[in-house]
Amino acid sequence: MRLTKWLVPTLYITFLLLPIYWLVNMSFKTTNEILGGFSPWPKNFTTASYVEILTNPVWYNGYISSISYVLINTVISVSFALPAAYAFSRYRFLGDKHLFFWLLTNRMAPPAVFALPFYQLYSAIGLFDTPWAVALAHCLFNIPLAVWILEGFMSGVPKEIDETAYIDGYSFPRFFVKIFMPLIASGIGVTAFFCFMFSWVELLLAKTLTSVAAKPIAAVMTRTASTSGYELGLLAAAGVLTIIPGAIVIYFVRNYIAKGFALGRV
């Protein structure tokens, strides 16, 4: 019984790690060795691919622009969603349920539907090929999600706390920042994690809304794969480097992951 209990998670985690191992394995091989045939680990261990990525501005600028639009998006999504989530969790108002569902429908909109109109919209307002365009476009699906998660966490805070603070003479903004936000700090962290995650992994809109200056790392990768032959080693190394920011972010929220994934409403 004890053994089988360990067996399933271990097998599953092994299954998860195998493709990642294979990617890491490829990233340390020379192009010749990759094309030469199957080998379970690098025979001529080389870090040439990583050196190329970290010294060539085309590559590392991809990382910088990806990280900048992800951070802008996370800040905008969380700060806009906070007051809205408070309204949904504390008050009933005209059309609240319809509004909440309408927000969620935007999470259901396939990005492929919006790619072309987004291109025209952001070209028209002059934001095309800036991190701001991608950050704002990603708000389409991140803000609804942020409102949804935060609303769950806020509903867990008893309303008496609000009322006591108002009686004590706190104004709404002061109460919100000084008392309420610290209470849902873990919820804010989890929400930021989700916004980071969905903005970081999205490619279709990020690629459509940028051309040269703000090209995300994912787009640099697809272009490399298609234009300069099939440089698997470089592609693999770039892939490995895209896993690292995610891994760091997970590490920070590891204790809240379980609750956060239930969107605060178990």
Binding site: R92, M108, A258, F261
Partner: protein
């Protein structure tokens, strides 16, 4: 919690409303606009009514992509939800290994989708990939760029790899909210493993599992990047799901009218199914 009626709450919602409306309504109007017009370039448009909708609804190509899309979503839901629940049930309930498990399991969720596609492409290459080489060594002929079945197998396996963890984490969050006293009571009553699952664990997971199915439905229904990078929609059209077909029509063939009409139909189908799940979920909440 009882909520007070206060229409001034609208001011708190307003910023979100404006930002999302800017992003959602203007592009949606553009798409609707294209879907009822014909253009020959030079910004000349002619009203076409429902012609494009009729074309799309009658086109065998659309039927085929839609069927593939439903099949794919159905298969991955049928695999990922039971598998995710099973894994969550076997995970340790407390102790230092919980964090390690959670971090490792969440890892695939944070990998950019094109990297997921590229990773599985490298993994599945018949000559140098661990999966492709391994299967061929075992005597199973496998080449995902030639055999439609192998392509489907790889795409499904990739999605299971990518997203099962989401179900695991949600189900696990549900399980953790069960007080230890419930299990002790079940033990005293001599309840079987199955009845513990059926009457204690499943009801507690009900709510999070609905979220899991809703999220998995929405995301698998819009899947684009991963299969596009892995198979490019091929071999032939074997793995051309709705989004891939749509991008092909809009950006590849520049068939704006058709693509726009298809977008609207696609969006409406996603909305309808999601609405059903959402209503079920909200009904569960009220009880």
């Amino acid at each position: 919690m009882t909520k007070t009626w206060n229409n001034r709450a609208w001011f708190l919602v307003l910023p979100v409303l404006l930002l999302v409306a800017f992003n959602a309504i203007i592009p949606l109007m553009t798409v609707v606009n294209y879907s009822v017009q014909e253009t020959f370039g030079n910004n000349l448009f002619f009203f076409e009514g429902t012609k494009w909708y009729q074309d799309v609804l009658a086109s065998p190509r659309f039927h085929a992509s839609l069927l593939r899309q439903f099949m794919f979503t159905f298969i991955i839901l049928a695999i990922e939800v039971p598998l995710g629940v099973a894994i969550a049930l076997t995970m340790p309930r407390s102790g230092p290994w919980v964090s390690v498990c959670l971090v490792l399991m969440a890892l695939p969720l944070l990998i950019p989708w094109n990297v997921v596609g590229a990773m599985w492409n490298i993994m599945a290459l018949p000559d140098i990939g661990l999966l492709g080489y391994g299967l061929n060594k075992l005597g199973i002929p496998y080449n995902f760029t030639r055999q439609p079945f192998a392509a489907w197998f790889t795409v499904v396996l990739m999605d299971v790899w990518h997203w099962t963890s989401l179900v695991v984490l949600l189900a696990y969050a549900g399980l953790r909210s069960i007080p230890e006293a419930y299990y002790q009571a079940a033990k005293i009553d001599g309840a079987s493993r199955w009845s513990v699952f059926r009457f204690i664990q499943l009801p507690k997971m009900n709510r999070v599992l609905t979220i899991a199915v809703l999220l998995r439905f929405m995301d698998s229904f819009m899947i684009y990047t991963e299969p596009f990078v892995l198979t490019g929609g091929g071999p032939g059209n074997a793995t051309t799901f709705l989004s891939i077909d749509l991008v092909k029509a809009a950006l590849g063939e520049f068939n704006l009218g058709i693509a726009a009409a298809m977008s609207i139909i696609y969006f409406l189908i996603t909305l309808l199914v999601s609405w059903i799940f959402y209503t079920l979920m909200m009904r569960g909440d009220e009880q």
